[in-house]
Symmetry: C2
Subunit: 202 residues, 2 copies
């Protein structure tokens, strides 16, 4: 095969792929607010939600964030969100990271209060995107009833996107979702004794 043949074969293959993709995309026409789930034990679940937030803010659209697990406050994402006070509403579940508390009744109460904040966002169609950060954790511990959560999600405005994050997503949530990605850990710097790095981890 000469170089010209190789170039021609390459061009033909690319043209075929483009043709298949164009035909596929042409069949995809529905518009709706998506229920997106980021789950799995790997990194990037919340980080990819922040990427969606960034995209939404770039378009000048409103974002609501409910954090069901309160981590450190001085994160980069938090600081960036605070630069868009007209577009961003953040609510943090009251009782802190669940590994740090040892009071189940208090956690349940806090989860319910946080869910009320989420429902207030579902009731307001001006929110283009609602992030339910670490919702899967409170669902896993049954701090919220999955049936009620799904019923409330189904009542949200037709074009409102929701992204729910956290490992161990419930099968019922995956079933209801439009787009589900599992983040799988392939390699983690902890193995080498490297700690969570500023600007990456927080």
């Amino acid at each position: 095969m000469t170089i010209d043949d190789d170039a021609r074969a390459h061009a033909e293959k690319k043209a075929r792929i483009k043709d298949v993709k164009d035909k596929l995309y042409a069949t995809k026409t529905k518009e709706k607010g998506l229920l997106v789930v980021h789950t799995g034990t790997g990194k990037g679940k919340s980080t990819a939600a922040w990427g969606l937030v960034m995209r939404t803010l770039g378009h000048g659209l409103k974002v609501g964030v409910v954090q069901f697990v309160k981590g450190r406050r001085d994160t980069g994402e938090r600081r960036l969100l605070e630069r868009f006070p007209d577009l961003v509403t953040i609510k943090v579940m009251g009782e802190g990271f669940t590994w740090e508390t040892q009071d189940k009744a208090r956690d349940v109460e806090a989860a319910r209060a946080a869910w009320q904040e989420a429902k207030a966002m579902f009731a307001d169609p001006s929110y283009h995107l609602v992030v339910l950060d670490e919702l899967n954790i409170v669902l896993r511990y049954d701090y919220l009833e999955i049936a009620q959560v799904l019923a409330d999600l189904a009542q949200r405005p037709h074009m409102q996107h929701v992204v729910a994050t956290g490992r161990n997503a419930k099968p019922e949530l995956i079933e209801a979702a439009d787009l589900v990605t599992e983040m799988t850990l392939v390699k983690h710097p902890f193995r080498e004794g490297v700690k969570g790095q500023f600007g990456i981890e927080f």
Copy 2:
């Protein structure tokens, strides 16, 4: 088991988990710039990179972005990045999305030029984070030599983080990386005829 017993068991379990985590974190002390790879066929690879960008910008630190596959220009992430002209440098590989071109020699040339832009960022320690968006695609087609890419990455400043995205990450890149996440498709709205949604897909 009474309610009190249940609450006590819950508290004890949480306390044990917290103890294990605290001990684990205490052993993680090294600081270094991470080579992060987001790969797999699922969504969220570039989106999670934008989340890291958001975090970095929130801290007021500089970000360099090299996009090896030029998509649409009017994305939300692009618009947001343009709001931080003092902190963000974006370089886009000249010849567009590779499925759209049918000229391998031109693609190789464009990939090499884009890599020079990446190298210029590696040479500047003021960049806290460098995003090599869709690098894996040009590596997969051997538009760039993996050995040279790894050598150049190894020369970057000690505390500079790099995130490389794209499906089909080369084993050599995974081997060299500190943190690798595979995004796995669990469910995609294409199945239901739903198109890429504004604010989610772009």
